[in-house]
């Protein structure tokens, strides 16, 4: 195959949701939503409040199960898998409100994230202490790098509960990095983050994408953030896929403006 031909073919799909459906009582939070996430992209997911974005994240990550529809990760059907198996297959997520392990230190929050540590099994814990120690030393070195990347080095022995809102978001991102998952879903990483830390957070996501090859799907309401970071952007409204395009196309699209501001605004 020619180099030019491979360059033109789009990167493979790492994550897809197909015709996902979820109702709570009589309310349809997600109704027939489909999306694809391509390898190496930073894909934005926007939509008005109540569009079903967070519920969609729950369905993709397995925190709740869809009423119908299908989720595929690297081409495998993972719809029925529990959350931890999805993580072991390479997908991790954050939550809208930072959910750090408060009474654990920042360093511990990072060290516990890597998967299938031999020290997490009872037999090696008691009968292979040298192996456990060597593994933990390796993880410590990685955590030191991640601490530097997220500028949390000085706070590493602080309880995670004592971090500011923005620092908690950085910690969650660092924790996601420590899991080694290639696919990272972020639910409003910018919510409650002050402007200075926002710059750092944006920079960190960009570096994880460029240098570590991470693929991102990001829910965010801060349109500057979306404009700077995300391509493509998926618009969701009333539980459905509205459109997917670059941010520039999206912000000029009358259907998007209508979804956000109502019909009147679209015709001004």
């Amino acid at each position: 195959m020619h180099a030019s031909a491979t360059a033109k073919s789009p990167p493979r799909i790492v994550l897809s949701g197909q015709a996902l459906q979820k109702s709570f009582g009589g309310v349809r939070a997600v109704s027939g939503m489909s999306l694809t996430l391509r390898e190496g992209s930073i894909t934005g997911l926007i939509g008005p409040n109540g569009a079903g974005k967070s519920t969609l994240f729950h369905l993709l990550s397995g925190v709740i199960r869809p009423d119908s529809g299908r989720v595929e990760l690297f081409g495998d059907n993972i719809t029925a898998l529990p959350t931890h198996e999805r993580a072991q297959r390479g997908m991790v997520r954050s939550f809208q409100l930072a959910r750090e392990f408060g009474p654990l230190t920042v360093l511990e929050n990072l060290l516990l994230a890597p998967q299938n540590q031999c020290g997490e099994r009872l037999l090696p814990l008691f009968f292979g202490p040298a192996k456990v120690r060597a593994e933990q030393e390796g993880l410590y070195r990685r955590a030191v790098e991640v601490l530097a990347l997220s500028r949390l080095t000085a706070l590493r022995n602080e309880y995670a509960a004592n971090l500011s809102g923005g620092q908690k978001k950085l910690l969650e991102l660092g924790r996601a990095l420590m899991t080694d998952c290639p696919v990272i879903l972020l639910d409003e990483p910018g919510a409650g983050v002050n402007p200075a830390l926002m710059g750092l957070l944006t920079e960190m996501i960009r570096r994880l994408n460029a240098e570590y090859g991470k693929t991102f799907l990001i829910i965010e309401h801060d349109m500057d953030f979306i404009a700077r970071l995300c391509d493509p952007v998926i618009v969701m409204t009333e539980g459905r896929h509205l459109m997917e395009a670059s941010f520039d196309e999206i912000r000029r699209d009358p259907a998007v403006i209508e979804a956000y501001l109502g019909r009147a605004a679209a015709h001004v």
Binding site: H84, L112, N116, R141
Partner: protein, 303 residues
């Protein structure tokens, strides 16, 4: 007098083992087990039945009692682990009562309310009673230390770190790839094994057990030990269990110094005292007298 202190210390040992089991389940992993008395009773009765009715060496019977309680812990946890925390607590309380009521009503096996006599003495080398009680205290102390070492290794290692993460937020732990169910079941079973061993040690010490020994009140005392001592800290638990036994037993002597209260009133005062201490600790030291220690990486200094 010395004999009394030895007995008190031995009782403290049983409570310390139970407290370490509960700490593994609740203090580390966040599983509310109100059925401590049930696992204690199950260990006591299975140990006693194995050594007296089946004739197994009492030392082996004590170990097998731990296995029996562990199997019960496995069944209880697998059946109920998907329940919400408060419902899980209710089920464990129910389990404790089932064990007690079974022992009360199944005379053919347990002698029911008359009590089961256990003539078999473990670790007996033809010693006098006074020396034997010291030997028994030594054996109990050794078991406490071994379990302490196991619990410390778990607490300070990656395993304990993941247990504490599950305690704080099981959804996030799952999202990070931790098999929450596996960790919970393992921690619950291991804690149950400890409780079973404590029960069998108790049965062979007291040599006569009846169902009313295993009222749910036992669970309250063990919870007290863990809360007062400091959940998540194994040293704190030993202190907590010691304090609870000291109050329960030591306050008996108050009667010798005062004639204001009758002995009946005194036994109620002990329970009140325990309640007051619990409230004071929760008010002024909510994380216990010796709280969970902060993690410091062993690799910090070297790098």
């Amino acid at each position: 007098m010395l004999a009394y202190f030895v007995a008190m210390a031995t009782y403290a040992g049983f409570f310390m083992i139970l407290a370490q089991g509960l700490n593994l389940q609740w203090g580390m992993t966040g599983m509310v087990n109100f059925g401590v008395a049930g696992f204690y009773a199950l260990g006591a009765y299975s140990g006693a039945i194995l050594s007296t009715r089946i004739g197994i060496a009492p030392e082996l019977a004590i170990a097998l009692a731990g296995v029996a309680a562990g199997v019960a812990g496995l069944v209880v946890s697998l059946l109920t682990m998907r329940l919400r925390e408060d419902y899980f607590a209710i089920v464990t309380l129910g389990f404790g009562e089932i064990v007690r009521l079974f022992a009360l009503n199944e005379d053919w096996l347990t002698e029911g309310p008359r009590g089961l006599r256990i003539p078999a003495r473990p670790f007996d080398f033809g010693l006098s009673n006074a020396v034997y009680s010291l030997v028994y205290l030594g054996v109990v102390a050794l078991v406490v230390l071994v379990i302490y070492a196991i619990c410390e290794r778990i607490r300070s290692g990656p395993y304990g770190r993941t247990l504490r993460a599950i305690r704080e937020d099981d959804v996030v732990a799952g999202v990070l790839g931790k098999n929450v169910l596996r960790f919970r079941v393992q921690a619950f079973v291991l804690g149950s094994v400890f409780m079973g061993v404590a029960g069998a040690l108790f049965a062979h010490y007291i040599q006569n057990i009846s169902p009313d020994t295993f009222m749910p009140m036992i669970a309250i005392f063990i919870w007290m030990s863990v809360i007062v001592g400091g959940y998540g800290n194994n040293k704190g638990l030993l202190l907590g269990a010691g304090i609870v036994i000291f109050i329960l037993e030591g306050s008996r002597f108050l009667g010798d110094f005062t004639s204001i209260v009758t002995s009946q009133q005194l036994s109620s005062i002990r329970i009140i005292l325990i309640g007051i201490i619990l409230m004071a600790v929760l008010r002024f030291r909510p994380r216990g007298l010796i709280p969970e220690p902060k993690f410091m990486s062993e690799f910090e200094k070297t790098s």
